[in-house]
Symmetry: C2
Subunit: 345 residues, 2 copies
């Protein structure tokens, strides 16, 4: 990247779980940065965050924060994006938004680079980063979609608490210690911080991520259903999702059943997955090798294994897909998009 243009980058939500990972990735990837602006709520303003041997002081994010910013990475919640992203766009910044605020907006590209990198250039100021559990699934299924077509997906998730933020990580670890000591878990955060009922997550499985809709599905489940169609650019793909929080810190796991449109050979499927960008095939039952959340934590790739032909439907496959929800599921997918923008300019 010598002689490359340098960019003024803003990270909105710099002190959050995803913001921290974005900053770390910008550093690790040696992103061509002229100036790094770290923004947050007034509460976290003043915090100093190390970056490339220096310290960057976090500033309060305001509508005026985006003068001169080339790329703004938002991960401070949908309300913050809605309040500030239009100002950033007006100031000339390209916004990469980790929240759900613009994902289903028809004018906003919803991008997983391995799937629809071409959509980046269609942006009108904002590019949406999909939901974590959707990203790893579509990134894995894309090579199979291209080769065989996909008619239907039935997915059950095993999602890490870090998807609900740093407070949920703390909550799960605190509860675990309490329960191990024979005390009550005293749930305080999960399943949904803004809702009144709290459930124990330590040594439990909670079948609720985000709020319920009238159709009985949660927002998280509807995200997987609707975002998959939009990212794949194919409204005909049927998707059913059940999203479940389990006591894992980093790494979402997914049990995925997928019906393909054409006959397939399982070994060819494995080869397609092994050769796909960003995908690592970990699939050796004889050696008890398959993806695990603890192995995926801290990695940029998406891991897939347990690939097997369905016994009841010869055109269907089952597989197990695992990725770090804060990295490929959030920060890394966003930084990947930023890298594509940087290369284009």
């Amino acid at each position: 990247m010598s002689n490359q243009k340098l960019f003024n980058i803003a990270v909105v939500g710099a002190t959050g779980a995803v913001g921290e990972q974005i900053i770390r990735l910008l550093e690790q990837r040696n992103f061509p940065i002229k100036e790094l602006k770290l923004l947050s709520s007034a509460r976290s303003a003043g915090v100093k965050i190390p970056f490339k041997g220096q310290e960057v002081t976090v500033q309060e994010a305001t509508p005026d924060s985006f003068e001169g910013v080339d790329i703004a990475l938002f991960s401070a919640g949908g309300d913050v994006t809605k309040a500030l992203a239009p100002h950033a766009v007006n100031a000339g910044a390209i916004c990469i938004d980790n929240t759900s605020a613009y994902r289903m907006d028809p004018d906003t590209p919803l991008v997983v680079p391995e799937v629809n990198v071409d959509k980046i250039n269609e942006h009108k100021g904002i590019i949406a980063n999909p939901n974590c559990s959707t990203i790893q699934m579509v990134a894995t299924l894309k090579p199979l979609y291209d080769r065989y077509g996909i008619s239907r997906i039935i997915v059950s998730t095993y999602q890490a608490v870090s998807g609900a933020g740093a407070k949920a990580i703390h909550e799960m670890l605190r509860q675990s210690k309490e329960v191990l000591a024979g005390n009550d878990a005293n749930p305080d955060i999960l399943p949904v911080g803004s809702l009144p009922v709290k459930h124990q997550i330590a040594f439990n499985a909670i079948p609720q991520i985000d709020k319920f809709l009238d159709n009985g599905f949660t927002n998280e489940e509807m995200k997987m259903i609707l975002e998959t169609k939009k990212i794949m650019g194919d409204e005909s793909i049927e998707v059913t999702a059940t999203c479940v929080r389990i006591p894992v810190v980093y790494g979402h796991s997914e049990s995925v059943y997928v019906e393909l449109k054409e006959d397939f050979d399982v070994e060819e499927v494995k080869t397609l997955l092994a050769d796909a960008p960003g995908i690592v095939l970990v699939d050796n039952p004889a050696e008890q090798q398959y993806p695990l959340a603890t192995d995926a934590a801290g990695k940029l790739e998406t891991f897939v294994g347990r690939v097997r032909r369905d016994l009841s439907n010869p055109k269907a496959l089952n597989m197990w897909i695992v990725s770090d929800n804060l990295l490929k599921g959030a920060a890394w997918n966003a930084v990947q998009i930023a890298e594509y923008i940087a290369i284009e300019q």
Copy 2:
């Protein structure tokens, strides 16, 4: 149960996780017992177990242990059942076997009382207790099968470590403490004690329960597929299973997608489930009420919630089924069968 016949009962595997629960249930249910014989391996012989205010000394199980025994409850592993159950049958005992040894034997009834209690009388000395993850699923689906028919089931499980025995519980709790203290988990038992590779279960999800077959499925998954057909008495029911161990102590959870043969009304489905024997409907999304492993632990019932029509297939339902794997999934189902035998005699 006054004036009722009293029975000589043997519990084989009396010191194991399931055996302990069987003894506790026989006591709680005030089972009509004349003599209780507690049997185990030579290693555990001599242990004293409290029962109704007295102490019963565990004896080593041998081929000669079953003289005079009316009902023998086996939960000491398939090899022990294969070695000893034929001797028990020859001695005149009816064997209720918790292992997989005879489950798929065409001459052995595989019984979940809520589903096929009528099969108990067809026994030739041995009645098999199904796999834990199968029991709670078929008990829940039976009223829907009777009313609408079932063409297909796709299930992903969230299984508790107690399903792998007392050592696995200890292992998961020990690992949790180690990881919380910043140490390595040093996995030693799971996923499969007899296989060489061990994986961390604390704060993880392991997509392997039991050994792999050549078709890429595990034994546990094949049990769910094959046992469901046998218990329902309908080989046409298609079943796909992905079985996953998660860091929960007691209570298996299951994400179940089921295609019915006839149109249904969701409210009627909920009524059928609420009225079904042994099933408790916990399904109020507005109040964030749904089944949880921590709530099901210690209970005899199977809990179902998150009941919703599939958005992609109007003849399909999604639901979340939870039950204590050591109780309805093992000890309670076995004691239920013993109670039916006692009532018949």
